[in-house]
Structures are given as structure tokens and as C-alpha cells.
């Protein structure tokens, strides 16, 4: 490669690296000074935006006698909304919890139960600002509401726990009593592999079934 071209490419790379460095400094400065303000306005914009909502595959009906859904929603469909007013969470719930679905909202582990069925309900979501970044701020006694297509279910936060990601026994699937378990990677503000999960446990305190 001719020397002039080498020199030019080196200059360009240096200028790019310098510019990138200052951009990162600026982003870090904004993050630590006024990120809360930005987040507030982004949330307002999100609420005002017209978003495409995915419809559930079938109207989901609930059999109160057997305490089971008459037909489970198909994988990848939206069957409800998760709301935690104390930390500003208002997100769609998708059936399934693969990585593709977790990019869109809260997942529902298909091996767990649905609200109203009386068992463990396990729901993960990413720890980004759009999803569960503020989950660790949830306190015991806070209210969680799940508005499903077949009814509305209210839970009170009974405890929070930090668990190891390789210990699924901390999220047991059982059918003896209804407990909601929301989890996300922890800590929420660091980079790198997260070996912990922050879990919020909720006990059912109210249920209203759609007619």
C-alpha cells in the first residue's frame, strides 16, 4: 500500500477514535446528569406513539370450575399486560420467553401457570430501561396488576430476592398456591455477564374474571 494512503488511513482512524472518545464522554456526562429527564420524555413519547399491538390468536376463556384456561394462547402471542404503578412498568405479556420475544416485552415461561390457575407464574424481562430496569426498586407491599384477556389479577409484593442464574430451584413450578415471580438480570446498571437475577415475588390478593 502506498505510504501516502497508509498515512491517510492512519489519520482517519485516529480522528475517528478521538471523535468517538469525546462522543462517549458526552454520553456518559448526559447519563449521569440528566438521564432521568430524558427517560421521562421518552416514556411520554412512547405513550403517545401509535404502536402495533399483536392480537392474541383466540379469545382466551377461563373455566372457573377447573381453574384452567379453556385453551392456552399460542406461542408468541400477547395475552395480557403487566402493570407495576410504583415503578412505572406497563408492558405487554407474551406467551413464551425466548430471546426474540424478550426483545418485545415480558415473557411468560410456558412451563408455569397462568394467573388464576393457582400455581407458579414465571415471567422474565430484560433489565433495560424499556422493560425491567426499575424492577429492583419495587418494595414489599407494592401492587402488581396483570390484565389478561380473561380477567384482571392483583398481586401484592411479598418479597424480593437475588438468586443465582444457575439455580432454577429458586423459581419452583408448583400448583399448590398462586405465586407470581418476575425476574431480570442483576445488577441492572453494569455490563458483562450477569450471574444473578433479581426476583420479585407476588401473592394473589384479587381476581376479577371477564364475563
Amino acid at each position: 500500500m502506498p505510504n501516502k494512503l497508509k498515512h491517510l488511513l492512519k489519520e482517519i482512524a485516529e480522528q475517528f477514535a478521538i471523535s468517538f472518545f469525546f462522543c462517549c464522554l458526552l454520553i456518559v456526562a448526559i447519563y449521569f446528569t440528566c438521564s432521568n429527564t430524558f427517560e421521562k420524555y421518552i416514556n411520554i413519547i412512547n405513550m403517545m406513539s401509535v404502536s402495533e399491538t399483536e392480537a392474541s390468536n383466540l379469545p382466551v376463556a377461563f373455566d372457573i370450575v377447573s381453574k384452567r384456561l379453556e385453551r392456552n394462547p399460542n406461542y408468541g402471542t400477547v395475552w395480557g399486560t403487566l402493570k407495576i404503578e410504583s415503578v412505572g412498568i406497563d408492558l405487554p405479556i407474551y406467551q413464551g420467553d425466548d430471546l426474540k420475544l424478550l426483545k418485545k416485552g415480558v415473557g411468560h415461561f410456558a412451563g408455569s401457570y397462568f394467573p388464576g390457575e393457582g400455581g407458579s407464574i414465571i415471567m422474565p424481562a430484560h433489565n433495560t430501561k424499556k422493560f425491567f430496569r426499575h424492577l429492583p426498586e419495587v418494595k414489599v407491599g407494592d401492587e402488581i396488576v396483570i390484565e389478561a384477556t380473561y380477567g384482571t389479577f392483583t398481586y401484592n409484593v411479598s418479597k424480593t430476592e437475588i438468586i443465582d442464574y444457575q439455580d432454577p430451584s429458586k423459581l419452583p413450578v408448583q400448583e399448590e398456591h398462586e405465586v407470581l415471580m418476575l425476574y431480570t438480570c442483576y445488577p441492572v446498571n453494569t455490563v458483562g455477564l450477569k450471574t444473578k437475577r433479581f426476583v420479585v415475588f407476588g401473592e394473589l390478593v384479587g381476581a376479577e374474571y371477564a364475563s
Partner: protein, 178 residues
Amino acid sequence: MKKLFVMLVAVALFGGVAKVNAMSEDELYNKLTKSYTINGETYKVSDAVKKQIKDYLKDFEVSSKDADYISGKVDELVKTAEKSNVKPDEIPATVKTAFIEAVRDVAANTSVNATISEGNDGLVLTVLDENGEVYSKIDNADVTIRKTGSEAYIVMIAGAISVIGFAVIAKKVAKGNA
């Protein structure tokens, strides 16, 4: 092995549209969720898979013919595992291949509407409903704690470029002072 085995058990339930006559749903459920002892190790179906089996029986009907065929495949797989000296954390390639072939055989010879593929977390069993829509996916027989962190590698790359930029600036400053 446990996870492969219970996935096949799950496949046993994910198919068929005719009514069960010879075997009741409870009997079928019990047969498919019982534990198996192979080479001294006991393999049990997890509560999560039991739930998914129950859900499928609730939402679909399984013909006795299909159930018998699939049950036979489960027995064959157990024998293959026994011969291969399988252990809980050591799944011989022969067993994995036998499992995949068994799933595809079931899909070809029964009303089962399912496919199996290799995902990031291992084998993924995709079950379709009568309309060809995805009804369920199983990529792990137990509760899987998902990766729910942010995209850290992007931040790391950005950080690396920033460090290079800082180094270039420092070099220029040093040159200027020299």
C-alpha cells in the same frame, strides 16, 4: 439425557387429533410422566414439563394409535440410552441422534405436528397447532432462567474504541510537549 428424554415424552403428547379410546387421558399422562431408571440413575419429568403435558392434553386430543406408537418410541429410546451407558451429564452423540430421529419418526408416522432443531440452548422442539401456528416451544425441560441482561458486548466495543481514542490524544499531547 434427562432433558432429551423428557422432550421426547413431551413430543408424545403434542400431536394427534382423534379421541383417546383405549387409554384415558389420566393413564396416558401417568405413563408419560413416570420416572425411568437407566444405568442406576433415575430420570424424572420436571414439574414444568408435566404442566406442559397437562396443557396439551387439555387443548388437544390424542388418538390411542398415536399414543401407542409414541410410547413404543419412548421405550426404544430408553433401551438405546441403556446400551450407550448414558449418564446425567454425559449424553453420547448416539443417544442425541437417536432422540432426534425418534422425534422426526414420530412426526412422520403420527398426527404429531412438531419439528426439532438446534438452538443456542440446545435442541428446540416446536409444536404446531391444527392451523400450523406455533402452539408451544420447548428448549429445556426444566425452568430455564433466561439471559435478561443488556447487550454488553456493544458497550465493550464502544469502550475499547474510546480507550484507543484516549491513547491517541495522550500520544499527541506528549508529542506536543516534547
